[in-house]
Amino acid sequence: MQVVRRRAALLVVLPLLVTAGCAVGSTQGPADDARALADPLAQVTSAVETALLATSLLDEGRTSTTVTDTALLDQVHVLQDASDAVATLVPAPGPGSAWQSDALAAVGEAQTAVADARAWATGAGGSVDEVTAALEDAGARVDDLTATLQEAGS
């Protein structure tokens, strides 16, 4: 009977301990923060590269405004998801907080660049050179930060 009770107690306590282990800031270190930030930054790289391809195709007359607009709009959503993922991270004491701020700034820059690209694609303003330069700058910033995070996470 006692053995059964112990087993029952274990069944209750074990899930509680596992769940409690996932509480904010419980086991995280800088390497965990770096890895957690690298995933949304990969999404940002993907969105910026897609936006670059879509704008260059429109500039060369190889695609339509509707397809480019849709592709850019889809990347706006991807960047929003990435922004949410970065913003909701609770970093551990150490460099995590600074990385998070850098990542938020990088995502913000990418969001502005993609929004500007969409404005250019739909004829609202801007030039293709400005749009491309902004996207490339945003991409370079994300790449630099990703390299730093990969070094810290390994």
Partner: protein, 409 residues
């Protein structure tokens, strides 16, 4: 000459009808992340669907019964009822993905938000199911879906490093930045995309719609054995286009608008227009097939009058089922759920549910009481048993891998 044209039409329809939103999305996602390192799964999936469709078509033609009539007869009402619930829900999920796919494709052509296209797409699917003849709806969408051959043309125009692609396809490895669990999760998703259960419900019920007999077996075998592998080549072409354009740029495919960009890069606006027509046709055709499959499965299980060969008034419950399924699909999509996510889930759950229909068909295909001298031969049975193991393994591993990998993220 007329017979030759009939054979050509059947093969072309099978090629065009092979691809749906699941194949489009899964192949592009896999190509952008793994290159052609998972191309072998398409080969495994195509051989599997050829085997499965060929068996179910033969069973329908010889026994005069479609899939769910047989499942109920063979397994009894209780077990078959559980089977029906799972199959119907997964078919509904696939229908939802296909209607969402039509809306996304129309967004590419118009820039109009998909939520505005969803009710239009649902209405159009219902109207065609209600009004068009079975042969017309099957052949027109299949032939228009053939325009997706533009992916293969685009691949040649992109001028890829063929030796690198061949190396990925023939000596597959798990790319360094992807884990083994994610690799196998996507392997199952690709397998599920190639072997979707609705294809078999539609194929076997279509055999009844078109009143196949034993005499039609050779043509049905030709349609499947030539048409589906050629459709599989288009699947690999979609993955290869994504591998050539997106993999080096670290782009992860997450939307339909990305899938068409390699085609635009290779062939310009004309190719882009052709691929959009192809995607609309493929998703529309698949929505018709899944819509009909929802009616077929329920009506066959419950013994209702069914079939497009009957006037709607003579098969009222069959048509009502399809209307309700379409309304549910439209309602789910109107909640703003991402159709691409629905598609990703639908292909994985297709793999989960596959044994439910595969096993009864395999049993009946070996039963002389139903099949007489047309039972499976030794070679077919050996292959079918190997596939039974593969299907069971994929079915059992799908959900644990989905949980472990966060659905491949």
């Amino acid at each position: 000459m007329k017979r030759l044209l009939g054979v050509a039409l059947g093969v072309l329809t099978a090629i065009g009808g092979f691809l749906d939103i699941g194949d489009l999305v899964t192949n592009a996602v896999v190509g952008s992340r793994f290159g052609l390192n998972l191309a072998w799964v398409v080969v495994v999936g195509v051989v599997g669907i050829c085997l499965f469709a060929q068996m179910s078509g033969r069973v329908a033609a010889v026994s005069g019964r479609a899939t769910f009539e047989i499942i109920r007869e063979r397994l009894g009402p209780r077990t078959a009822g559980a089977n029906l619930v799972a199959s119907f829900l997964i078919n509904l999920l696939t229908l939802t993905a296909e209607v969402g796919g039509i809306a996304l494709a129309l967004q590419l052509a118009s820039s109009v938000e998909p939520r505005l296209w969803i009710p239009v797409a649902g209405l159009a699917v219902w109207l065609v199911i209600w009004r068009a003849k079975f042969s017309i709806l099957e052949n027109v969408t299949g032939l228009l879906g053939l325009t997706l051959v533009v992916f293969a043309v685009a691949l040649f125009l992109l001028g890829p490093d063929w030796s690198e692609l061949a190396d990925q396809a023939l000596s597959p490895t798990v790319p360094g930045d992807e884990g083994h669990a994610v690799y196998w999760y996507y392997a199952i998703a690709l397998f599920g995309a190639a072997m979707t259960p609705y294809e078999v419900f539609f194929f076997s019920s279509g055999a009844r719609e078109e009143k196949w007999t034993v005499k039609d077996l050779s043509q049905s075998r030709l349609n499947v054995l030539v048409g589906f592998p050629l459709g599989g080549i288009l699947s690999v072409a979609i993955a290869a286009c994504a591998a050539v354009v997106f993999l080096p740029a670290s782009v992860e495919v997450s939307s339909l608008s990305q899938i068409v960009l390699p085609v635009a890069l290779a062939g310009g606006k004309l190719a882009l227009a052709v691929v959009i027509v192809g995607i609309v046709a493929a998703t529309f055709g698949a929505a018709l097939e899944t819509g009909l499959s929802s009616g077929y499965t329920l009506a066959q299980y419950l013994g209702w009058s069914w079939g497009k060969f009957r006037r709607p008034a003579q098969a009222a419950r069959f048509h009502l089922t399809m209307i309700i399924a379409l309304l549910v699909a439209v309602a789910v999509l109107m909640t703003s759920v991402d159709p691409i996510k629905v598609t990703e889930f639908s292909v994985v759950f297709s793999a989960v549910a596959l044994p439910l229909t595969y096993l009864p068909i395999l049993l009946v295909a070996n039963d002389p009481e139903y099949m007489g001298k047309h039972v499976n031969g030794r070679v077919t049975n050996a292959l079918a048993l190997v596939y039974l193991v593969v299907i069971l393994a994929a079915s059992l591993a799908a959900i644990p891998l989905m949980i472990a990998t966060g659905a491949g993220s």
